[in-house]
Each structure stands twice: as structure tokens, then as C-alpha cells.
């Protein structure tokens, strides 16, 4: 296809899509309107289960099965990356020269690393109370670990980061999510139903029944997934080189 034909196709298709989208915009409920039947019911259901953060309740209680689907996508994406970015036979690892890092940057990285890890854990642990949860906190904690790469170099990161362990952790976290769901089944309720644990006192760390458990499982899964992903990319970008002459 010549670039000209393609430009025409894009223009025609794009303007058609634009017209349809604009027409659809005018058919949507008014912005800021007062009618949110699902939202109102979700808030009621969340308060009935004594979960202060309604969004966490929707994710890990009312729509926990949907979140299992999301976790599966995440797991499959990480698996795909690991397979695609593995070291092939015609590649070898070249040790990069140690990086020279400005001493203030090194001090900052070492100082902020524990603070960031702690913040990640805080965001995960308070997921059912304040804004946050496993998805966000997992990413923060995993990013925090990579301050070692920024503050020192890749070899320093490799020393404290056994990738195999994080791959196992990833799988264990998904299994923990599934086991919590099956436990509800064994307890005589539906899969992933929030009937296993007492709902606790509103607005405390242990409130919400199984929400904190699923939240923690997701936090672990996301943190491990991000660490494994970044490990593969860093391997490729910093260490792995092809044999010369290929």
C-alpha cells in the first residue's frame, strides 16, 4: 500500500470515527449529572461490608472476579515478556563497566529507597481505607527497588534482587488470590464471596473481611510483576549483547 493510499484511508476512517464519536458524546448522560444508580448501590454495598474505600470494595469484593481477570492479563503479559526477552543462544552477557554516580545522587537514592518502600507498603496496607491499594502500592514499592540502579549501578541491583524469587512470588500471589476465592466456595458461598472473615470495625486496618487479603495478594503480584519486567528490560538494555558477526 502506498503512503498516499494509506493517508487517504486514515483520513476517511478517522473522520468517520470522529463523526460517530461526537454523535455518541451528545447521546451520553449529562456531565456531572445526578443519576448514578450503580454507584449509589456500590456505596451502600461497600458500607454494608464496612469497607471505607468504596473503590477497593468494588475491586476486591463486589467485582473480585473481574479483578481476577485483570490479574490474569497482568500475569500473561509478564509471562510473555519473560519469554520474548530471554537470553538466546547467540547472545552473551557483557558486564557493563561500573557507573560513576554523583555522590549526592547516591546518598539521595539510599536515603529515599527505604522511605519509598515504606510508602509502597503503606499504600497497599491502607488500600481498604484511604486512596490506594495493591495495584498502586505494588508499583511504588517495585519502582523504589530500582533506586538502587539509579543510585549505584545495575550490578548493585542484581545483588539484592534474585529474579527467580520474584517470579515465584508472582505466581504465589496469584495462587493466594485464587485460594481465597476457593476458600469462600468451601465455606458454602460463591467463588470470591466476601463471607469468610468477620467484617470488622469500620475504618480500621482489619475491616472489610477478605478485602485486605485480596488487596495484599494483588500488591505482591504487581510488585513482583514489575520487578520481573524491569529486570528483563534492564538485562536486555544493559547486559545482553549479540555475538559479533551475526
Amino acid at each position: 500500500m502506498s503512503p498516499r493510499t494509506r493517508a487517504w484511508l486514515v483520513a476517511v476512517g478517522g473522520s468517520g470515527l470522529a463523526a460517530l464519536l461526537v454523535a455518541a458524546c451528545f447521546g451520553l448522560p449529562e456531565f456531572g449529572g445526578d443519576s448514578h444508580p450503580y454507584g449509589d448501590r456500590a456505596v451502600e454495598a461497600s458500607l454494608a461490608h464496612r469497607t471505607a474505600n468504596t473503590i477497593a470494595s468494588v475491586n476486591f469484593d463486589q467485582r473480585a472476579f473481574d479483578t481476577l481477570g485483570e490479574l490474569t492479563i497482568l500475569f500473561a503479559a509478564v509471562l510473555g515478556c519473560v519469554v520474548l526477552l530471554r537470553q538466546t543462544r547467540d547472545e552473551h552477557r557483557a558486564r557493563p563497566r561500573p557507573a560513576e554516580v554523583d555522590p549526592p545522587v547516591r546518598r539521595y537514592a539510599l536515603l529515599v529507597l527505604p522511605v519509598a518502600l515504606l510508602t509502597g507498603l503503606y499504600v497497599v496496607a491502607h488500600g481498604q481505607l484511604s486512596p490506594g491499594g495493591g495495584f498502586q502500592g505494588g508499583v511504588v514499592a517495585a519502582t523504589a527497588l530500582h533506586l538502587l540502579y539509579l543510585g549505584a549501578d545495575y550490578r548493585a541491583l542484581e545483588r539484592v534482587r534474585p529474579v527467580g524469587l520474584y517470579e515465584v512470588g508472582d505466581a504465589v500471589a496469584v495462587s493466594a488470590y485464587l485460594v481465597t476465592g476457593v476458600a469462600a466456595l468451601l465455606g458454602g458461598a460463591a467463588f470470591l464471596a466476601n463471607t469468610l472473615l468477620p467484617h470488622g470495625t469500620f475504618n480500621t486496618l482489619s475491616s472489610g473481611g477478605t478485602v485486605p487479603l485480596l488487596n495484599a495478594a494483588v500488591g505482591m503480584e504487581v510488585a513482583c510483576a514489575v520487578v520481573v519486567l524491569l529486570a528483563r528490560f534492564l538485562d536486555q538494555a544493559v547486559e545482553i549483547e549479540e555475538e559479533s558477526g551475526t
Binding site: P96, R97, E100, D102, V112, A116, V123, P131, Y149, L150
Partner: protein, 157 residues
């Protein structure tokens, strides 16, 4: 509605528009500085919003941004270092102004909040923000990343 939201609107509107303009045009050195400034502006803006909406739990957003924003800038300083080393960015005035503005906002909010855990969180956020931004700005200007990696020259195409 209230002064805090007005202040947040002005901060975010002008500051982020400037950061977007800086990151969209000009040489690479200007773009990385603009990216660093977007953190420095958005974080006080989020703090003002938390106060304006009367929701202390929104402060978590500013805390995470104050932590991860400078980390993002350090990523750019490390991985674009070879290209930046030829033409290091200097933006002392802009960085200093942003840091000063952040300090003013944090102090004002501390005075309004009164002593307590919320104030401690605000102070931690402010310290992380200002320290992180000054350091990230220094890392962009400094020799970080110069001796890095395989030594492959960083070419633009």
C-alpha cells in the same frame, strides 16, 4: 468556591501549561528541566487541592508524586546522560523558584492544619519534594551517566 481551589487552579493552570510548553519544544536540555518542573508544580497543586476539597487523604497523592517524580527525572538523567553531557541543562532560577514555591505552600498548609500527624506528613512530603527536585536538577546538570554502560555513543536519528 474557596481560596485554596483558586490557588490550585492558578498554580496548575499556569505551571503545568508552562511545563508542557517546555517539554514540547526546544532542545533536549530544556525538555528534561521542564519534566522536572512538572513534578515541582503539580505536587504543591495537589496539596492545595487536598486542602481545598477538605480531604486530608488526598495528601497521599502528593506524597507519592514527591517520591516518584524525582525518580523519573533521575531515570532520564541516567539514560539520556550521554546526550545531556554534551549540552548540560542549567536552570537554577526556575528550579529555585519552584522549590521556594513548594516550601511556601507546604508551610502555609502546615499553619492551617495545626500540629499533629497530618502536619508531619505534609512536612515529609515537602522535604521529599524540595530535596528530590533540587537533587534531580543537579543530576541533570552533573556528570551522572557519563561513564555509564557500554560506551555506545547516544545518537539521535
Amino acid at each position: 468556591m474557596n481560596g485554596w481551589i483558586l490557588a490550585a487552579t492558578l498554580t496548575l493552570g499556569t505551571g503545568l501549561a508552562a511545563a508542557l510548553w517546555g517539554v514540547a519544544t526546544g532542545p533536549l536540555r530544556r525538555r528534561v528541566v521542564a519534566q522536572n518542573l512538572s513534578t515541582a508544580v503539580a505536587c504543591p497543586g495537589l496539596l492545595l487541592l487536598a486542602q481545598g476539597y477538605d480531604r486530608p487523604s488526598y495528601v497521599d497523592l502528593a506524597l507519592v508524586l514527591a517520591l516518584l517524580g524525582p525518580v523519573g527525572t533521575l531515570v532520564f538523567a541516567r539514560l539520556l546522560g550521554d546526550e545531556l553531557a554534551e549540552n548540560p541543562p542549567r536552570a537554577r532560577i526556575a528550579t529555585g523558584a519552584a522549590a521556594g514555591f513548594g516550601a511556601v505552600v507546604v508551610l502555609a498548609l502546615c499553619v492551617v492544619t495545626g500540629p499533629g500527624r497530618a502536619t508531619a506528613k505534609l512536612l515529609v512530603t515537602g522535604a521529599l519534594l524540595i530535596g528530590g527536585n533540587l537533587l534531580a536538577s543537579r543530576a541533570l546538570a552533573g556528570p551522572a551517566g557519563a561513564g555509564k554502560g557500554s560506551g555506545a555513543p547516544w545518537t539521535t536519528s
